[in-house]
């Protein structure tokens, strides 16, 4: 279980969310309050959109709280759309390739959660990645696989549909393999213009996910960045938050269960 923040709005320094708030992402890396584990010290990453179509990426296997480079970048980089993520993967080796966010072309993706029974299903899950995107597989984890499968499900045309289709097929594969552990997902996705966030759990117990409007800006977070909980809205289980620049945000249902039940 990990913790993350996503931002879209007028350009701000990354430090405004990553290091400065009372319960900033860095604070959460040492003391998360709504996650299964308190410590998120197994690598971290930031991804941001600047002047180019494709995002920038800085990922490192150290804990976020002790990385001077992160502190410097967060103070210097100002962005209108960025992701930041701290990772908990206690007990397994850490590599940059398995740190979030993941970038592919103009897309950026990060995830918190798990595919139940992934170790046994890995091959099946990886087979869902189309040939055109398999070359981009740089790590070995379930999160990157979800991202690349979504690419192969039409991410460019219909992002919400592609993610729903991905989750649907993963749930189906888990069912075939009689996996009892759940699929639990919160995820953020962007093409540099729109910001998407997803919350879904096959056992109706999804990881925490909140969002709020703040002036013209949108913040989506695993945990509120301050103690004013009433200012934050939970993203409902089985739904996506879709934010399109000045057009504001909509909460839409994710067609995972519907089709699944059919």
């Amino acid at each position: 279980m990990c913790r993350w923040v996503a931002y879209a709005g007028p350009p701000i320094f990354l430090s405004d969310l990553v290091t400065d708030p009372e319960h900033s992402l860095i604070a959460q890396s040492l003391g998360a309050e709504e996650a299964k584990v308190e410590v998120n010290g197994d690598g971290f990453g930031i991804g941001w959109y600047g002047e180019r179509t494709e995002p920038g990426l800085y990922r490192e296997i150290l804990p976020a709280w002790s990385d001077d480079n992160l502190r410097h970048l967060a103070r210097q980089v100002r962005s209108r759309l960025f992701f930041a993520h701290v990772r908990a993967a206690t007990g397994t080796a850490t590599s940059r390739a398995n740190c979030h966010p993941f970038a592919n072309g103009r897309w950026l993706f990060m995830h918190n959660g798990q595919i139940g029974g992934y170790a046994g299903l890995r091959r099946t899950i990886e087979a869902m990645i189309g040939d055109a995107h398999y070359g981009a597989r740089a790590g070995t984890k379930d999160s990157e696989a979800l991202f690349l499968i979504a690419h192969s499900r039409g991410l460019d045309r219909d992002p919400v549909g592609a993610v729903a289709s991905t989750l649907r097929d993963v749930v189906a594969a888990m069912r075939v393999a009689r996996v009892e552990a759940p699929l639990r997902v919160t995820a953020a996705l962007s093409d540099g213009q729109r910001l998407f966030a997803f919350r879904y759990a096959s056992d109706r117990r999804p990881p925490s996910l909140y969002w709020r409007r703040d002036g013209g800006a949108i913040q989506v977070v695993s945990e509120p960045l301050d103690r004013r909980r009433e200012a934050w809205n939970a993203v409902p289980d089985g739904h996506a938050l879709v934010c399109c620049g000045a057009g504001g945000c909509d909460v839409v249902p994710l067609a995972v269960e519907a089709v699944e039940a059919a």
Copy 2:
């Protein structure tokens, strides 16, 4: 504040203390119970005596809990005298040179605690390191400085006296500079034959330190490795534990306060 273990006795695998016990050093790195901070994720190190006079050293800036190399070494290296240390230095950059243990010639040293007001006293403290040992200064922290000062105070002839003399002079320097924060030390020291452990606090509130005999072996630890607390003896504040191979261990007073009061 950090956590550490030291061992002397019949050769055992490092994993017997570092990874395997119920409340092993690795377990303490994620959930210390008697330290100011729970997480010790800012680097770690092991030092051990094998076939050579000088000890081996493996130090890394990653958290101990996610380092596969440590897991491998702990399972493969068997030693009759070894140290292991996990570090908490939240908020400052981590480098191997600042990780414990420190080695110099045949000596090995590790430390948990602090020199109150070290930032302002650093220059004064470093000036206590004799010219002959200043070249060995590879990092910037107080712990390594204590080790090198002890070298310059006759470590080879009288290890307990050299450490007491070091602490005395540091306390004196703190007093001159009107530092109110305390000096707090637990430390382990070895020349490859004898094992020394120290516990001292200028405010009588030293970090926790325990030891026990187990067959022909001695274990000294920041926190008991299991829940059988009655099996562990606290090292008294202001004292050193001196273990000389088959000769057993003595607890002797550290002449810090005595001279200080004179």
Copy 3:
């Protein structure tokens, strides 16, 4: 292209081959003489057999020449059978999981060379790894894939046959995909008792590989460790060197081409 050394014989310190000789592996990491690139600074690793059935492993993404931990381990670890490897992968990110040697159960493997057209063939190659071993896939490179395929081809029963079968199938897959770049392999393999070395190139231009007997010991190296070239024997292209403890070594043909031509 990488450089490596393998040793079997009376226990010696790893430093005897890794750091001390005139043209030691560390020297080769900065100035290889028989490889396409001179610098092998993209990670390194050592694997050794000690008191346990499975080997120890230390792998790191830094250049071998600047790693203090390696220097310490090479001076402290004494082994009767060990591998050491320095890696050149200029231009791609380095992770420990992609560093050699690779360990799986009691087996150890390292490789120098390339599967021509691997980027396009990766999926096909990975499909050759049997389900029982796919879970052990921790990286993304061709070398680890070769090792795991060999596991699925009966490595435990017939190591030379399993490697030959692996190479045969890879060559066949390259042919189907009309890859023109060659398969080039030198590799070392051990189960903790026997030492195997392989040299093969589909274009008859294999990487360099030498071996020698030195008292009761066997050394296999990418490049001679000293200037006495006449003391070293080349392993012939398309052959395996098979060393069985006191039983000495045999050079046997690798049944890649034979079957291939059939």
Copy 4:
């Protein structure tokens, strides 16, 4: 011996100098042509001025050629004044704190060269750092010491004079200690507005240093970034290059020898 580039002018992406030119800094990290060693793989760093008074910093102990984060940052960060540095320190451990550039307040500094006999002189050299700046000493090397001494010699008021005074005192200390190895320096310095570059050797054999005007921009480099050598001017030994925004650049003598000879 290291290699570096400095830029001042209209904002450009760091990749324009660091990764893209024919003989870019990354190319130099693997194949320097005018340095004592060809490989500069012992860490690297970039420092740049953006929207804040103090510079940003990204330093890493990996070789520059294999660091994906560097590639990303160089493509995303656009700056009107930046430094980049690749380091050669073969044989000694690498830490971020010893990587260039160094930042202190609004100042940025990087260096190539050596203080002859530094190991024996380190204490004397460090004593030249004023108390006000000793706390900023994060590493152990001569380069950072030069920067902090210059701070204590009036860097804020007279940068060229402060550096000259620093070099003068270092040469004097070397003379007192009868060090025969030379002081050799090329260095870049900035306060975020002006760009200074220095070239000096006590044995008149300074490391290479070139500069050129390109439109409204200034580039200062250890080695030309392309094969058009005639387009690059050598900075003369014993001189400083002083560039003040639109005001252009002057080459002025460094008062090291003059005073020294008095």
